[in-house]
Symmetry: C2
Subunit: 179 residues, 2 copies
């Protein structure tokens, strides 16, 4: 198991171009199931979701973001929400949503699909709620565009590990230096 989980984490890429093939409801439900198995503070499970494959609804949603081409081109969308009535701490609930979305992205690839995490659409979150018929109790956190990848040529990069590690306090005489 170990190797493939790390491999999945390192090889996952944002997919923005999809074939016309539709995504099954079973797969979308599996992706959401992976999301809800993320940890949350006090296990409050504050996340909520809306599934959209309907073309007319996707067309309306596409008008709420700069990335309309992606929204229109993706056969499936999952809008990720926080339920304000289930929240207990803004920072921790936003973190939990991030953990949930990462699980969803990893699950998407595990199912042979591809996805991209759309955040710019949050600028019009009231409009998105209006289109989806959701009250302000639900705070839009992201939209995932999901489909069958046209290709997997996407590149990504990260800075070197050393830049991110601010401090290291190692136990003297431990075998911490050895693998």
């Amino acid at each position: 198991m170990s190797h493939s989980v790390l491999e999945a984490i390192y090889t996952r890429r944002s997919i923005r171009e999809f074939t016309n093939e539709s995504v099954t409801l079973a797969d979308l439900q599996e992706i959401i199931k992976a999301g809800i198995w993320a940890p949350s503070g006090l296990n409050n499970q504050p996340w909520r979701f809306a599934i959209v494959t309907d073309e007319e609804v996707r067309a309306k949603l596409s008008e709420t973001t700069h990335y309309s081409r992606i929204v229109l081109g993706a056969p499936a969308l999952i809008a990720v929400y926080l339920d304000r009535e289930a929240m207990y701490d803004d920072v921790k609930d936003h973190q939990a949503t991030g953990a949930c979305i990462e699980n969803m992205l990893l699950a998407t690839e595990a199912l042979g699909l591809g996805a991209v995490w759309l955040g710019q659409i949050l600028k019009n979150k009231d409009k998105v709620n209006e289109i989806l018929g959701l009250s302000s109790q639900y705070d839009l956190m992201a939209v995932l565009a999901i489909g069958h990848p046209q290709h997997r040529r996407q590149k990504s990069s990260r800075k070197g590990l050393d830049i991110f590690i601010l401090k290291t306090f190692l136990q003297e005489g431990s075998d911490v230096f050895q693998k």
Copy 2:
């Protein structure tokens, strides 16, 4: 690959009781590497980390949280930070941190280790920064306690999927209903 990634997501549990065996620096670096391969808005990679295996530093940190027994009992800690100078949007940067931490938790299990995500310690984040010698440029997001699990008997639960799915807009005539 697919099955094991979903399995990892569904079987991961918070580990709070560890053996005395130390954790190698190589494993801690691998866990952080998995973290930084999470997605972030504009790929700003705002996360930073401090590694602590030193017993004296762990003892000091244990005094900053209700969960001192976990902090003392874990052979390794990774404090996860946001670099305020690298941030661009509070909500999205907090989400990115959550995605990063979820990768770290999955990587920990993939390496045969266990971890728990500690959030209560944020109440004393200034004190934690003082102990670690970090300025207020770095905003503590979580501490992960990491080690070799004493056991893997932990249970967890989630509400039913239906509770989380607020709306479904399905394309008529598509094969979305079929697996």
